[in-house]
């Protein structure tokens, strides 16, 4: 793990390739925008995984590669997973250098995919001290052209199913922290309104139906408040209210538009995309009111769609230039923004290591999962149509 804290600027993709070893070239990853020793940005950790087949092998590969590992098939990297999925899923993780087994486990309940995710999580936890993301959920929007619906899936896009069948436009699903519930925008009643959807019972209730448009909901970390964008007073502004609709408070008064609010993990700030003059900027404001404070995003242009990492350290956002780029910046503004990969609308995993985002292809948007600190990313399983606006359950 590199500890250099200086920003070492761009190394081209060609340099990365020439610097990489032969074993690394066997692994096919999507183009990396930048690489460098930037505040914890690292090369992937090589690991061998052998003895598995089919779906189990696919799940292990996907989960480990989007969590900072690189699966190699030759050489003798430090870490080794040996096992099988004949009958139950069994595995032994060992350290070749210290010649010690780290764990040896068998996985029985649940589907084969669930067992493989559990094994991947154990490897991640043992080697990185982070809780893995293998058994987490995402919500997202699927646009078929005529209409759009909200879907829920495993973080890798598998086990997806729609939770709306309204045949209208929906947008911007977000999870209630720690709850089986979503807020999202639906045009079912004719306008852009915000609804709450309990995923345990299916019950849905209107949350915001003011005159004009009601959109971009964001639930506070303690679940007690919702930030949102309303136009009811004639401008597109940022508001916050309690979850029962009481205590509505207007947080901005600007003829420019605000968009995409989110919360700091301590609930002390609402972060949003706004404008300073004609310039698009990120800003934060106290949910109890006051002057918005600019978040510096030097080095990139037109920031929008910010999301604060659950550990409080980072803000991930979309920069718009000739295309769209996922970027991160330290939440305290102590360094320039770092472009990661092409894409938009990022959402953090609960462990603050990975983000799910949308990227545009010739056939519409697909979702992809990005390991922020190695910049490795892989597309998730796709529902027919455009897949966008992912929100990672936290």
């Amino acid at each position: 793990m590199k500890t250099t804290t200086k920003f070492i600027s761009i190394i081209t993709a060609a340099a990365i390739l020439s610097a990489a070893t032969a074993r690394a070239q066997q692994e096919v990853f999507r183009p990396i925008v930048k690489e460098g020793d930037v505040m914890g940005f690292t090369k992937p950790v090589p690991i061998t995984v052998s003895g598995f087949s089919g779906e189990v092998e696919q799940v292990l590969r996907f989960d480990l590669e989007v969590q900072g590992f690189k699966l190699v098939s030759d050489g003798t990297p430090q870490y080794e997973v040996v096992g099988s999925n004949a009958g139950s899923v069994q595995a032994r993780l060992s350290d070749r250098i210290s010649k010690t087994p780290i764990f040896s486990k068998a996985y029985t309940g649940g589907s084969l995919r669930t067992r493989a995710h559990a094994l991947a999580d154990d490897v991640v936890a043992a080697l990185t001290k982070r809780k893995g993301i293998g058994q987490t959920k995402i919500a997202f929007k699927v646009d078929t052209g005529a209409a759009s619906e909200i879907y829920i899936a495993d973080f890798d896009g598998h086990n997806a199913h729609p939770v709306t069948r309204d045949n209208t436009i929906v947008a911007a699903p977000v999870w209630v922290p720690g709850r089986l519930a979503l807020y999202y925008v639906s045009y079912k009643l004719g306008n852009a309104n915000i609804f709450r959807h309990d995923l345990g019972t299916g019950a849905r209730s209107a949350f915001a139906r003011y005159g004009g448009s009601n959109f971009s909901p964001a639930v506070s970390p303690d679940g007690s408040k919702v930030a949102m964008i309303l136009s009811k007073d004639g401008w597109v502004d940022l508001y916050v209210s309690n979850t029962d609709g009481s205590g509505l408070k207007r947080l901005t008064r600007s003829p420019q538009d605000e968009s995409s609010p989110c919360w700091s993990p301590d609930g002390q700030w609402v972060l949003f995309a706004g404008k300073s003059g004609e310039r698009r900027v990120l800003m934060k404001v106290s949910p109890s009111g006051g002057e918005p404070v600019r978040i510096p995003t030097s080095g990139v242009s037109n920031p929008s769609e910010p999301e604060w990492s659950p550990d409080g350290k980072w803000i991930v956002f979309t920069s718009q230039g000739s295309g769209f780029t996922i970027c991160v910046v330290p939440a305290d503004g102590s360094a320039a923004a770092i472009p990661l990969v092409e894409g938009e609308d990022p959402s953090w995993s609960p462990n603050s290591r990975t983000v799910v985002f949308a990227r545009r292809t010739g056939s519409g948007r697909v979702l992809s999962v990005l390991d922020v600190f190695t910049k490795q990313y892989k597309d998730v399983s796709r529902i027919p149509g455009g897949n966008s606006q992912p929100s990672w359950a936290k």
Binding site: G178, L199, R204, G223, T243, S254, P255, D257, P292
Partner: protein, 201 residues
């Protein structure tokens, strides 16, 4: 990840350099609240939607929530149940420049035509639908589309139309008029459309 002390060291610098005032303390000019701006909160529930089978854990690590109430605001939207006519003012669709909600000189006569139509159909109302091209993130475009609809609405109000009879909606980039990925399509998609609303008989 290792602790990065320098991040903390620079907090003070950040605080000094990033205090940017963006609020507007002046009396708002050219802003008219929407009908029912002061009401219309939690009414009009949707029929039940899907559930997450098995009630699986989502894997999240968040705090537990405090739950919600179903008590709502007393009133609903102003023109619910009114019939919609998309054809009457189809020729008056207003077009915008990229990333702009400014009404161009070439478009003003269209809005004036809409105002004249509303004055000659005294009981009618109008819904202004703001739309965007695909060059923007989705929620940014939803905001931009609303800003376009509001700009048209303000022009109508300044032309003598009562604020209560002009609704707005933004579809962002969700309802393109042309499907292509080039300027020819984009210029058709950056638009405001008019839907005539008539009270139920």
């Amino acid at each position: 990840m290792k602790t990065r002390n320098y991040l903390n060291l620079l907090v003070c610098v950040l605080a000094l350099t990033t205090l940017v005032t963006v609020g507007c303390k002046k009396k708002p000019v050219g802003v008219t609240p929407l009908p029912n701006a002061k009401s219309g909160g939690q009414v009009g529930d949707l029929p039940p939607g899907g559930i997450l089978p098995g009630g699986e854990n989502t894997g999240g690590m968040g705090n537990s929530g405090t739950g919600t109430s179903t008590t709502g605001f007393p009133a609903g939207p102003g023109h619910a149940g009114w019939s919609e006519d998309r054809a009457a003012l189809q020729t008056e669709t207003v077009y915008f420049d990229y990333d702009s909600s400014t009404i161009k000189g070439s478009e003003k006569s269209k809005i004036e035509n809409v105002a004249a139509y509303l004055k000659s159909h005294g009981s009618a109302a109008v819904k202004v639908e703001g739309n965007c091209d695909e060059r923007g993130t989705e929620e940014y475009n939803r905001a931009l589309g609303e800003r376009r609809a509001l700009a048209i609405r303000e022009y109508l109000i300044n032309s003598g139309i009562t604020p209560d009879s002009v609704d707005t909606v933004s579809y962002g980039e969700d309802k393109p008029a042309a499907p292509g990925h080039n300027e020819a399509a984009w210029k058709k998609n950056r638009r405001g459309e008019f839907v005539v609303l008539t009270a139920p008989k």
